[in-house]
Amino acid sequence: MKDLTIRNLSKTYFDPYAGTNVTAVHDVSLKVEQGEFVCIVGPSGCGKTTILNMIAGFIPHTGGEILVGGRPVKGPGPDRGVVFQSFALFPWRTVLENVAFGPKMRGVRKVEREKIAHEFLALAKLTEAAGRYPNELSGGMQQRVGVVRALANEPDVLLMDEPFASVDAQTRMTLQEELTRIWQEKRPTVIFITHDVAEAVFLANRVVALSKGRVLEEIDVDLPRPRSWDALNDDARFKELSGRVLQLVRSA
């Protein structure tokens, strides 16, 4: 696990229909320490997914720099694990093979990589599902596999793009609690994108409020861990922090 530094990041692209340049991300700077959990929160179209895609290396940035452990990002790579909103599991691979995919690409032997995969599946209570295909699992289970698949490759930074947006509300709460538990156990460096203010405050050490491609404010979340919804639902500090973030995001 390493730290992540973003300096004056910007993204401008040419819109052929409007015939003008559009700036999706303006001069964003952010420092994420090793083992920190940072949530970027903002409404649709605020540029949060664009930022994540640039960090992942899926799309090029047009200004500034992105450094992972001091080294600049050039294209996608296994040092940055990604969890997708649409899960993006390989339908033709079993759950076990999906989780073992990263180690397989690194050239880890079959016995060894299956051991790693089983270990991580156990972490997310997925041992039973190892031999099944993704389409046989519920959405919540699929995204557990998605998270564990990214972690099993031991990336320096874990990038999560609205990973729980397409599961039902109850499952989402369970997944959020499990994610905080797994994070505490493994302490990966995480950047988590969401539009859900309560989710951001629940998960993060620090929440970055984003609007129209600019960082509005960074808010430290000093809630104790382990966190659970039962405890935090009526917590005054949690309500205060969520209220502040919500106000920020809505006012902009």
Binding site: A56, G57, F58, G75, P76, G77, P78, R80, G81, V82, F84, S86, A88, L89, F90, P91, W92, F101, G102, M105, R106, Y133, P134, N135, E136, R149, A150, N153, P155
Partner: protein, 269 residues
């Protein structure tokens, strides 16, 4: 009466559940019965429309003389050779066109143009170039098989969600491994559809080509029978075509589809 029919129906359902192959034979029973009745009633002269029994007898004698097995083998080998090359050329070409915008711009109009010149339309010039032989037949089948395979492979490659490419990349997969781990399996259901269409067209093209240039094969058997006025053998040839296609589809193509696209949830059952 109603109860009686219901009893028969439930009996059929149970029988079908126990021996599924009976279910696929059952629809042919009324067809054969109707054929048999029409010939027994002598509506058409016997020489024009022989009955099922005569066709079965003719099948027996042609097998006995060794003609039918030899012709069948010739036809199947030609189809297999043609299909092999059709797949070997079609899938890589389809993947190239599906993945590369540049290749698509350059090759798509050509593909559509040559697709329009049907397989048989090539026969006159192929006969001049290669004569009446295996080369001509193979070229026609490759030509027929390749277009559905290419076009469906392109469709399959392009329908793979970009997130799967990205997921593989961020898990450390190289371009070549992505080809093997993502592009090929992702496009496989469509490739199989293309193959099914291609084989179907190829089978027809083979028969047509054998009629024109062949010296053996099922198509030749049928055309040769016409020369001697043997309607029995023509009917036999037609029935063999149908049965063979059924076997190829239900014993080779359908099991592959069940084991891949359906298993993975890419195709609804």
């Amino acid at each position: 009466m109603k109860q009686f029919l219901l009893n028969i129906w439930s009996h059929c359902v149970r029988l079908n559940a126990r021996w599924p192959s009976i279910g696929s034979i059952a629809p042919f029973i009324p067809v054969i019965a109707a054929w048999w009745i029409v010939t027994e009633l002598q509506i058409f002269p016997r020489a024009f429309l022989p009955g099922p029994a005569e066709v079965v007898r003719s099948f027996g004698s042609l097998v006995y003389m060794g003609i039918l097995p030899a012709y069948l083998q010739d036809s199947l080998v030609r189809l297999a050779v043609g299909t092999f090359w059709g797949i070997a050329l079609g899938i890589p070409l389809g993947i190239l066109v599906g993945l590369s915008q540049r290749a698509r711009t350059a090759l798509w109009p050509l593909l559509l143009f040559f697709q329009a010149i049907g397989d048989i339309a090539w026969l006159p010039i192929l006969v001049i170039w290669f004569g009446y032989g295996l080369t001509t037949i193979t070229v026609v089948i490759v030509y027929t098989v390749i277009f559905p395979v290419v076009l469906n492979t392109v469709l399959g490659v392009r329908s793979i969600p970009i997130t799967l490419h990205r997921a593989a990349q961020s898990l450390g997969a190289s371009r070549i491994r992505i080809l093997w781990e993502v592009v090929l399996p992702g496009a496989l259901p469509n490739i199989l559809t293309g193959l099914r269409n291609g084989l179907g067209y190829g089978w027809r093209a083979l028969i047509a080509t054998e009629i024109i240039v062949g010296t053996s094969g099922i198509g030749f058997l049928m055309f040769d029978a016409r020369r001697s006025g043997s309607v029995v053998e023509i009917l036999l040839g037609m029935i063999i075509l149908g049965i063979l296609w059924y076997i190829v589809d239900s014993w080779i193509l359908a099991p592959i589809e069940r084991a891949t696209g359906q298993r993975w949830g890419l195709v609804t059952r």
